[in-house]
């Protein structure tokens, strides 16, 4: 089976800073892949390259066989890649439902004239969009907040709304940038279920940036580790967990070395 998304040799620099360097990886249909790595590793930049917000300096991005490089963000969204943002970027003055309707923008076929005339086609499509919007709000447990103004929602609710808005675009792939950041354990648990349901029920592939390791380890089919913009390694969650290079990237060399020593000592003792 050809992968849904294939990325080859992706690179991006800001002035002298290499934010993403020669990253290659792919995402299969109905897969949940996680990207982890310390702060500043280039994870968000990686998403920004995928969604066309920044232009890659080198590399290739193929999605369902189509080259995404050089497309505008809206074209990429229309092609089936939707995302959320690490620093929540909702349309604060709009209602929760409207936010989800904006997500459907490209899928509502009403023209300017339809809107002015308020004809049958307009009303039908609008009704369908609202129905779908309500479905998605229910899907992320925000059904009761449809008429609420988005910036009055709680932090956790805003994160969920961002996901609903991304799903509204009818994507084949969603990119979630730290969806559980700032959430309590109960909310994080709900987030884990939601991510599973997105894949299992809606059949959408997910790429997840996350710092919460239990969440990453329990939802991911595969984990990619970025450090200083480069792909450090890639594998099953269990493989990544036990990879010393990953520990090193997260904790720094000296701590990792001490840990390794402690580990060795422990092994010696137990032997």
């Amino acid at each position: 089976m050809t992968p849904l998304l294939t990325i080859t040799g992706l690179s991006k620099r800001f002035g002298g800073l290499v934010a993403v360097h020669d990253v290659t990886f792919d995402v299969k249909e109905r897969e949940i892949a996680s990207v982890i790595g310390p702060n500043g590793a280039g994870k968000t930049t990686f998403f920004n390259l995928l969604t066309g917000i920044f232009r890659a300096d080198a590399g290739e991005i193929r999605f369902r066989g189509r080259n995404l490089l050089g497309l505008r963000p809206d074209q990429i969204a229309a092609a089936g890649v939707a995302r959320t943002f690490q620093n929540i970027r909702l349309f604060g003055a709009m209602t929760t439902l409207e936010n989800v309707l904006v997500g459907q923008h490209a899928n509502i076929a009403t023209s300017y004239l339809d809107a002015l005339l308020r004809n049958r086609a307009f009303l039908q499509r609008e009704r369908a969009a609202i129905e779908r919007g309500r479905f998605l709000l229910d899907y992320v447990q925000l059904g009761s907040k449809a008429a609420e103004i988005a910036h009055n929602l709680s932090y956790g609710e805003q994160r969920k709304l961002e996901i609903a808005r991304a799903l509204a675009a009818n994507p084949a792939l969603v990119l979630l940038d730290e969806p559980s950041a700032g959430m309590n354990p109960r909310e994080t648990g709900e987030m884990r279920d939601l991510i599973h349901r997105i894949r299992d029920e809606l059949g959408i592939s997910v790429v997840l940036i996350e710092h919460d390791m239990p969440l990453v380890m329990s939802v991911s089919d595969r984990v990619i580790v970025l450090d200083h913009g480069e792909k450090l390694c890639e594998g099953l969650p269990a493989e990544i967990r036990s990879n010393p290079r990953v520990v090193e990237a997260y904790l720094g060399r000296s701590v990792a070395a001490k840990l390794a020593k402690a580990h060795d000592a422990l092994v010696e003792v137990t032997q």
């Binding site: 800001f14 968000t44 920004n48 917000i53 920044f54 943002f85």
Partner: protein
């Protein structure tokens, strides 16, 4: 006709340079504030105007009849006008912009506020000035400034022109030094890059911003005095168009950069004067000097289309 044009060229270029240096000095205020806050400070043109009017008042009511050398009178007037403009700029920032910054208002809000302040100042100055009779203030005439220095048979330069060039270049050089070589300049650039991090690094962000407004205001005020000296008058509404053009100059050079403002200012000044002089000649006055503003605005639109980051500006990607 060709010889006429050639004969005119040196004076035209010098006039263009004078205007350009003035634009550059105004542009500094726009570019520094834009660099630090990402805000077009529409009220800067009124800071410029106030500097000029205060200086004219000082010359008329304070220095007339003192018998001081005209150059000394000019320097004193510039100092007072520049300081007044600087303090005005700081006051505007304090009263109108800082509250918006604190509450993190959507970007349209401070922009509209600066327009409001600009209009408010125009009519406030008009109000105050018309209480004293006239709100159009002629620059006091000094025969000294009209005296010509003969450079060659066809090229003269007046004391006025020379004084403006020397003062403007001094001002620009001083500011360049300040932004690039001092701690304050470094702090300003840090705040421009990232306010939050600068705060964490122990920089007093509010103070740096106020200082930026002060320096930009002083430069604008001084430019105002030079402008009034060059064109012989100032009134409450005469700041606006030079202000827009100076902003154009800042964009032309690359907004946020001091060198860019100077480059853009000089270029725009020369283009404006040269085209404003020659186009009427070429077209037999069918297209008159009234079109010089159109030329300036067309330049603005063209740069923004073809080189939105200006001549020396760097592209910048918003963090997402």
């Amino acid at each position: 006709m060709l010889t006429d044009m050639l004969l005119l060229l040196p004076t035209t270029l010098i006039d263009g340079l004078v205007l350009g240096l003035i634009y550059a000095s105004i542009a500094l205020g726009y570019t520094m504030v834009y660099g630090v806050l990402g805000l077009i400070n529409f009220a800067h043109s009124e800071v410029f105007m106030v500097g000029a009017i205060v200086a004219i008042e000082v010359l008329i009511y304070g220095l007339a009849g003192t018998g001081l050398h005209p150059l000394i009178q000019l320097v004193v007037a510039i100092a007072v006008g520049g300081l007044a403009a600087g303090f005005l700029a700081v006051a505007i920032e304090r009263v109108a912009y800082r509250p918006l910054r604190v509450r993190n208002a959507p970007r349209l809000v401070p922009l509209i506020t600066t327009i409001g302040v600009s209009l408010f100042l125009q009519d406030s100055v008009r109000f105050v000035e018309s209480l004293f009779g006239q709100f159009i203030r002629p620059f006091p005439s000094f025969p000294f400034f009209n005296r010509q220095i003969v450079l060659s048979e066809t090229v003269f330069i007046s004391n006025r022109t020379l004084a403006i060039i020397v003062l403007a270049v001094t001002l620009l050089a001083g500011l360049y030094y300040m932004v690039h070589r001092t701690r304050l300049g470094k702090a300003m650039r840090a705040v421009a890059l990232d306010q939050k991090t600068s705060q964490l690094m122990g920089i007093n962000v509010n103070k740096v911003i106020a200082t930026t407004f002060f320096i930009g205001g002083v430069a604008g005020g001084v430019a105002g005095v030079l402008y009034a000296l060059q064109f012989g008058r100032m009134d409450p509404f005469s700041g606006f168009i030079p202000g827009i053009k100076a902003f154009t100059a800042a964009v032309l050079g690359g907004i946020g950069s001091v060198e860019g403002a100077v480059l853009g200012g000089v270029l725009l000044g020369i283009l404006e004067v040269v085209l404003g002089t020659y186009i009427p000649m070429w077209t037999n006055n069918a297209i008159g000097t009234e079109y010089k503003d159109i030329i300036a605005f067309s330049i603005l639109i063209l740069i923004l289309i073809f080189r939105p980051n200006g001549l020396v500006g760097r592209a910048y990607a918003e963090k997402v």
